[in-house]
């Protein structure tokens, strides 16, 4: 019996071509969404920088007192931008130049805000705000500890929104980070600076951090 089988090769070839197109298309779509988000991030950081500056100038001009201080005006937005940078690092890669640049700008904005809060704390003894600096590391052997501390700090912030928490990438190649590390004598990654005191403690749970406030 002759082996007569229905023709299928052409359908297979067309299917292969269409599969490649759709497959590449899905990756392109994901990349395009990340790229547009990156563009949005650049604009948002620019807007935030302008807002922070305006806020400080306004405060200096009007000479607002301790009771009028509102450090929390920008924290939600800053947290959001920090989260976006985290996702962009995953999508575009931690070593992507453009993501690194935005990360550095973000660290600058954070530091600016931190200095603003610090000056309020110096001027207004009765109305101090608790401030935590967190120097995390994304390196493989440090990641688990960083995630654990980050998790506790995020929870702490959600339970007590009056705490200001600033996170800095210990391994980032930035002169600003270098200055902060030197200033606060940060000897290793995943360390916390709580209200200007560098702590060498190992924090087992969230109460250990709360006890230091």
């Amino acid at each position: 019996m002759a082996r007569e089988r229905p023709p299928y090769m052409w359908n297979a070839i067309i299917a292969l071509i269409l599969t490649v197109i759709i497959f590449v298309g899905v990756f392109l779509l994901g990349y395009t969404i990340s790229y547009y988000k990156y563009k949005g991030l650049v604009q948002s950081q620019e807007d935030l920088r302008y807002s922070l500056l305006s806020f400080e100038v306004e405060r200096d001009l009007l000479g607002n007192g301790c009771e009028d201080f509102d450090a929390f005006l920008f924290t939600e937005e800053m947290d959001h931008l920090g989260g976006i940078i985290g996702v962009l690092e995953e999508r575009l890669g931690k070593n992507d130049e453009q993501v690194l640049d935005q990360k550095k700008i973000y660290s600058l904005l954070e530091t600016r805000h931190f200095l603003y809060v610090r000056s309020h704390n110096e001027e207004c003894e009765d109305d101090k705000i608790d401030v935590i600096l967190f120097f995390y590391s994304n390196k493989e052997d440090e990641q688990e500890e960083a995630e654990r501390l980050g998790y506790m700090l995020t929870t702490l912030k959600r339970e007590d929104p009056d705490i200001m928490i600033y996170s800095f990438d210990y391994d980032m190649d930035s002169s600003l980070i270098g200055i902060l590390i030197k200033k606060y004598n940060i000897s290793r990654p995943n360390q916390l600076v709580i209200n200007e005191k560098t702590l060498l403690n190992v924090f087992e749970d969230i109460d250990d951090i709360r006890d230091q406030l």
Binding site: R5, V26, G30, E76, V87, R91, D205
Partner: protein, 413 residues
């Protein structure tokens, strides 16, 4: 990284298969219209119903068989009770008549019962019917019409679940709906490799030339399909011949059924390795290899995901412990939460493929639902299928592969 490679390979193969089958199925609608049943030249048809401990479904099956719309003088129904220990024989005997013959034999397995019935039948075409099936009255006419091509040795029906109840039956319903699309697609390239025992029609000539059902085979209908393919005949599909089945509704019974199917599949494929060849067209070069690769990737991925989920669960518990199990604080209620979630989701190619395949599944269900309009409620079926099927599938296959290699004797019942 390895996990991502497996996921993307699986997505690529899956997408290729979907597109290939969709392209292949074009033209089937017009092709199917050519086959019209000729009442004046109706051939003699024998319906063989093997039964073992089927007292629950026997009455409905018998009434369904008697309700078949086919010239009465050209039809016979043969029930073979395979040594049942319940009231199956008693119920079947109530229907004994000129049209219905009931036989009783010592228990020997479904294959022996089928062959017993076929050898005592006189039809030019034999239809094997499961004793827990309900068939649409016009099914036989549409199947017989497809035998107009003398090279067609078997015509399979479309199988759906009768009014699915519970989570398990709803999950299986999506699987059966997938099967409806796939079987029609396989038919278009003569690559059908499973003919459902529920209501498949065979040309008697094939049994006489190439032998009856293998009596010691766990899935004799699967072996028969492979045998027909290996002899270069055609297996057709009748989209208008609808048969409803009632599948297992508990995990244990479902597991037993699937193990039998999959172990049977492994053993039969081992005996028909020559089919994996370009000589058998799309069956050998695409359909069977894709099926095998899909099974392996599915097992590996599911094992990987399960292991990772368990490790993630352990990690999550440790993290929750560090925050005194304050669950509420783990949720982000900020105004940016939705925006961040959407970005995270839509920028991840794996999530995009998940969305794509969900739409594809939905398409299959719509296709099947247009064919099976009645008795097939679809509410909640798709979400349940997406949530649970891959784990069940991988577990059944894993269990079947292990059992196949450690146990030689697995009986039909």
């Amino acid at each position: 990284m390895l996990r991502e490679i497996f996921i993307y390979t699986s997505a690529f193969i899956g997408l290729f298969a979907v597109i290939f089958y969709t392209l292949s199925i074009r033209g089937r609608r017009e092709f199917n219209k050519k086959f019209v049943f000729n009442e004046k030249k109706a051939p003699f048809v024998s319906i063989v119903i093997p039964a073992y401990n089927e007292e629950k479904g026997m009455k409905a099956t018998m009434e369904s068989a008697l309700g078949i719309d086919y010239p009465r003088d050209r039809l016979e129904i043969i029930v073979v009770d395979d040594g049942s220990k319940d009231r199956t024989l008693e119920i079947a005997k109530r229907y004994s008549s000129r049209l219905v013959k009931v036989y009783h034999k010592k228990n020997g397995g479904k294959g022996t019962a089928l062959n017993y019935g076929i050898k005592r039948s006189k039809g030019e075409f034999i239809i094997t019917m499961d004793a827990d099936s309900i068939v649409k009255p016009d099914a036989v006419k549409h199947q017989i019409a497809k035998f107009a091509n003398p090279k067609v040795m078997c015509v399979s029906p479309i199988v759906a679940i009768y009014e699915p109840k519970g989570i398990l039956q709803r999950i299986q319903q999506v699987e059966y709906f997938l099967g409806i699309f796939l079987r029609e697609a396989f038919t278009s390239v003569n690559a059908v490799h499973v003919t459902p025992g529920a209501f498949s029609a065979y040309r008697r000539e094939f049994f006489e030339k190439h032998g009856y059902f293998e009596e010691d085979n766990l899935v004799e209908d699967f072996e028969m399909a492979l045998r027909i393919q290996s002899k270069d005949y055609i297996i057709e599909n009748s989209m208008k011949s609808i048969v409803y089945t009632i599948p297992p509704n508990n995990l244990k019974a479902l597991h037993v059924q699937r193990k039998r199917w999959y172990i049977g599949l492994i053993r039969n494929l081992c005996n028909y390795t020559h089919l994996f060849s370009k000589n058998y067209g799309a069956l050998g070069l695409l359909v069977l290899p894709i099926a095998i690769v899909t099974i392996f990737i599915s097992i590996i991925l599911t094992l990987n995901i399960t292991l990772r989920s368990l490790l993630d669960l352990k990690k999550e518990l440790m993290l929750l412990d560090s925050i005194n199990f304050n669950f509420l604080s783990t949720y982000d209620f900020s105004k940016y939460a939705i925006e961040r979630f959407l970005f995270n989701f839509l920028s991840d190619p794996i999530m995009l493929f998940l969305v794509l395949f969900t739409f594809i599944l939905l398409g299959y269900m719509v296709f099947a639902k247009t064919k099976v309009k009645k008795h097939s409620a679809v509410k909640f079926s798709l979400p349940l299928f997406i949530m649970f099927y891959s784990f069940l599938f991988a577990f059944w296959w894993f269990s079947s592969i292990i059992t196949n290699f450690i146990s030689k004797s697995i009986k039909w019942r």
